[in-house]
């Protein structure tokens, strides 16, 4: 006998979640105290889906997308972005110093946690992106599979991207890829979970730490993903997730002197150009947004190598 059966007759009031940022392994509210309304994707409510979801708290308000109110997401500030960079920097030594095998184990554990919450994500992704249940399920499954794919790369990329160099002389000469450091990631706007996973996993699989800005209109799956990370074995600070206005949060990240690289995937071409120019101040590694990136295509290794430096070590040989 379930609770709802017991309370038959009186409609049960569901428990709402207060969505929070994920920074340094904790779930803080924005220091600014600001929130913004997140609504169901218009495409879904427009199809006459579950509009006017008063049952979800009766606060069904009008968001900017015009769909039903889902939650108030934290509207992260410049200070939140800086705090996230501090957390990511603090976590870098430990995470980049972990063995590749260990990182693979940890990433795989994340996939396990994600799989376990599959139903939750199917609902959240469906609401966020206006997808049918079947399509949302396909997107979540693809996200889990993509994560597993990257988990398997942690201990292989060095062999693919590095190697011994046959120099003309008696030297032992080896090139090894190493993580570049703290990477700011602007998650794609159109794919709230699969897109997020596709850009985040390669950053941390290679030993970098990340500050991620979730999709502006559909941040809830990304914020929930923080719970998955927190309940797996990912050390605090390795991934930090912010929600809010992409342009507002991205500007201080692109200009931050302690950020080593920035993924502009989630930026419009105009914003991307502005951020790339700001990134030049400390010669951040920049990945520009691609015109039409498909999140279902085989990714190749370019998202891994984008965040790797090549270190070449020479040593004389002789007896």
């Amino acid at each position: 006998m379930t609770v709802s059966e017991r309370s038959e007759g009186a409609a049960r009031l569901s428990v709402l979640k207060t969505y929070k940022l994920y920074v340094g392994g904790k779930f803080p509210r924005s220091e600014s105290g600001r929130v913004y309304e997140v609504t169901e994707s218009e495409s879904r409510s427009g199809r006459g889906g579950r509009t006017g979801k008063a049952g979800k708290g009766g606060r069904g308000g009008a968001g900017d997308a015009g769909g039903a109110w889902l939650a108030n997401a934290p509207l992260a500030s410049r200070k939140d972005a800086r705090d996230a960079v501090v957390a990511a920097r603090k976590a870098f030594a430990g995470w980049s110093g972990a063995t590749a095998y260990n990182r693979g184990q940890v990433l795989y554990r994340v996939a396990e946690m994600l799989e376990g919450r599959r139903d939750q994500y199917v609902r959240e992704v469906g609401e966020a992106e206006g997808l049918s249940r079947a399509k949302a399920a396909a997107a979540v499954d693809a996200a889990v599979d993509r994560w597993v794919w990257y988990a398997g790369w942690t201990d292989k990329i060095a062999q693919v991207a590095g190697g011994a160099n046959p120099v003309a002389g008696p030297y032992f000469n080896l090139s090894t890829p190493e993580p570049t450091g703290v990477v700011a990631v602007l998650a794609p706007q159109e794919s709230s979970l699969l897109g997020l996973v596709s850009v985040l996993a390669p950053v941390i699989a290679t030993g970098n730490t990340a500050v991620v800005v979730a999709a502006e209109r559909a941040p809830l799956p990304a914020l929930s993903f923080g719970e998955v990370l927190a309940s797996s074995d990912v050390p605090a600070g390795v991934v930090n997730i912010l929600s809010g206005r992409t342009a507002e949060i991205a500007a201080p990240l692109a200009a931050h002197q302690d950020v080593n690289a920035i993924d502009l995937t989630g930026a419009s071409p105009e914003l991307a150009a502005e951020l790339e120019a700001a990134a030049a101040d400390n010669l951040k590694r920049v990945r520009r947004p691609a015109p039409a990136e498909s999140w279902t295509a085989t990714p190749g290794t370019s998202r891994l190598t984008a965040w790797l430096e090549t270190k070449t070590v020479w040593h004389p040989m002789g007896v």
């Binding site: 046959p166 002389g169 502005e274 120019a277 030049a280 010669l283």
Partner: protein
């Protein structure tokens, strides 16, 4: 007794192997031409201040013409079978070997670096780079850049004056192997070897427009980088200019690699073989007058052996021979320009003013030309300008440390991350320290070694991308899914 020392007799290399014309034009579309506005500048020998030749000074119109020539040539060049492109590169490599002596003398004249280095280091490496990348031209599908490797289009390349011909080789060889065409701007103080390279291309029968050389100043370089017909920008030079370039290309589709400044730590542990370490320190900072972005300009020596190492280092520095670059016994040649000499002088003076102790061996410097004696500073702290800023001259700053952890921390305490050195007999220490240094190249028990097969490039503000090896090739190939050949099919008006 100093007066009993046997002196070296002068052993000058003959200048007769180089025929210098009084003036040179720009090399565009297979022909030498004057600059559109007729401007010229003079290239001066830094060791004598003698004017070597007058050279055309490229302006915006010339940049535009060269880029158009390169774009036109791209269609055919990129469509050639890789094996054919490879054969052109092999021919270039061979001609470079045949003309090695001429080019070595020319480079010493124009740059001021000792003939011993141009002859034994620069020229062999220049030829080796063309040989190495020649072999890649018909094997691109094995380079790890995806199953359908395609060139990017026109490469705009801007190179510095410290290794004029070698930097040209680092950039031109992989670009051509991958099927790109090239517009290259050498530095204004060392334009001559690039113009001679144009003649090497002519002898090798390279199709017109595949390589274009624009001699000129920074404005020409800036126009080249900004030109919308350029698909790939490659730059070696200062971090300051590198940042300006990164801003210029922001928001464009241009692919960029930057090889910028450095402030390398050369770390000597207490168990290092002192004589070898001293040779490595000398090679690290005095090679090429210290005009090396990866120079070991910060010596970090373990406190317990500081005295022993410094004594040996000073003894060794006293034997360095400074003077005529064309003399085969010369170790340290001329500073490349009056401007560079002024910069080195100012920074060295700042070192003294900030309280570091300056030392240089007694040495007589020639009267004409630009010279700076090999110099070392002791009592340097991490806050000193000479420990933070790239000097790009024969000036070594000595700092000390007690533990490996402190050495690593001090070594990494810089916005740069190009190179580093480690001197110790303990293998496990080499590996542990090397893995913790944030630098693109780490030389253990050696320094300043280069090879075409070995990727070179920096972390942090030393720039992005690698040159050399398979990694260097990737910088000239489109990533899978990326539009190649500039604006893709049905090229724009630039093509007509």
């Amino acid at each position: 007794m100093a007066h009993q020392k046997f002196a070296y007799a002068p052993a000058p290399e003959s200048r007769a192997v180089v025929e210098l014309a009084p003036s040179y034009g720009l090399f565009i579309d297979g022909e030498f031409a004057e600059a559109a506005d007729g401007r010229v500048f003079k290239s001066v020998s830094p060791s004598s201040e003698e004017v070597l030749a007058e050279v055309a000074r490229a302006g915006e119109a010339d940049v535009d013409r060269a880029v158009r020539a390169a774009r036109k040539a791209f269609t055919k060049w990129s469509a050639l079978p890789g094996a054919e492109r490879g054969k052109y590169l092999f021919r270039i490599a061979r001609v470079l070997q045949e003309r090695a002596r001429e080019l070595a003398v020319l480079e010493s004249l124009d740059n001021g670096k000792p003939i011993r280095e141009t002859r034994d280091v620069d020229l062999p490496l220049v030829a080796a780079h063309f040989f190495y990348y020649a072999g890649w031209a018909d094997k691109l599908e094995y380079a790890g850049c995806g199953p359908n490797p395609r060139p990017l289009g026109v490469a705009g390349q801007v190179i510095p004056w410290n290794f004029p011909l070698l930097m040209l080789a680092w950039k031109v060889a992989p670009a051509l192997a991958a099927g790109n065409t090239v517009v290259l701007k050498p530095a204004e103080t060392t334009p001559l070897s690039a113009l001679f390279f144009a003649d090497v291309c002519r002898q090798a029968g390279l199709p017109r427009g595949v390589v274009n050389i624009l001699t000129g100043y920074g404005d020409a370089g800036a126009a080249l980088v900004a030109h919308e017909g350029v698909d790939k920008v490659a730059f070696t030079g200062s971090t300051e200019v590198g940042k300006a370039i990164a801003r210029t290309v922001a928001g464009s589709r241009k692919k960029v690699t930057l090889e910028l400044g450095g402030k390398a730590a050369n770390i000597v542990f207490d168990d290092a073989p002192v004589d070898q370490a001293v040779e490595g320190i000398v090679n690290g900072i005095f090679f090429n007058q210290g005009h090396v972005c990866c120079a070991g300009s910060r010596l970090l020596v373990q406190e317990s052996v500081q005295e022993e190492v410094l004594d040996a280092l000073k003894r060794r520095m006293a034997t360095l021979r400074v003077g005529d670059p064309l003399d085969k016994n010369t170790d340290i040649g001329a500073i490349n320009s009056a401007e560079q000499l002024a910069r080195i002088t100012a920074l060295a003076e700042a070192g003294e003013a900030e309280g570091a102790e300056r030392w240089a061996p007694p040495c007589e410097l020639p009267r004409s030309g630009y010279w700076f004696a090999p110099t070392l500073f002791t009592g340097v702290t991490q806050a000193h300008r000479i420990a933070r800023e790239e000097i790009f001259g024969p000036v070594l700053s000595v700092l000390t440390f007690r533990t490996p952890a402190e050495a690593v921390e001090k070594a990494n305490n810089t916005p740069y991350g190009l190179s580093a050195g480690i001197w110790t007999e303990k293998g496990s220490r080499i590996l542990a320290v090397a893995s913790r240094l944030r630098a693109g190249v780490v030389w253990a028990n050696t320094f300043n070694k280069f090879d075409p097969t070995s990727p070179f490039g920096g972390y942090k503000e030393s720039g992005y991308g690698r040159e050399g090896g398979r990694h260097g090739l990737a910088a000239y190939l489109a990533e899978p899914g990326e539009a190649a050949g500039g604006r893709g099919e049905g090229e724009g008006e630039l093509d007509r």
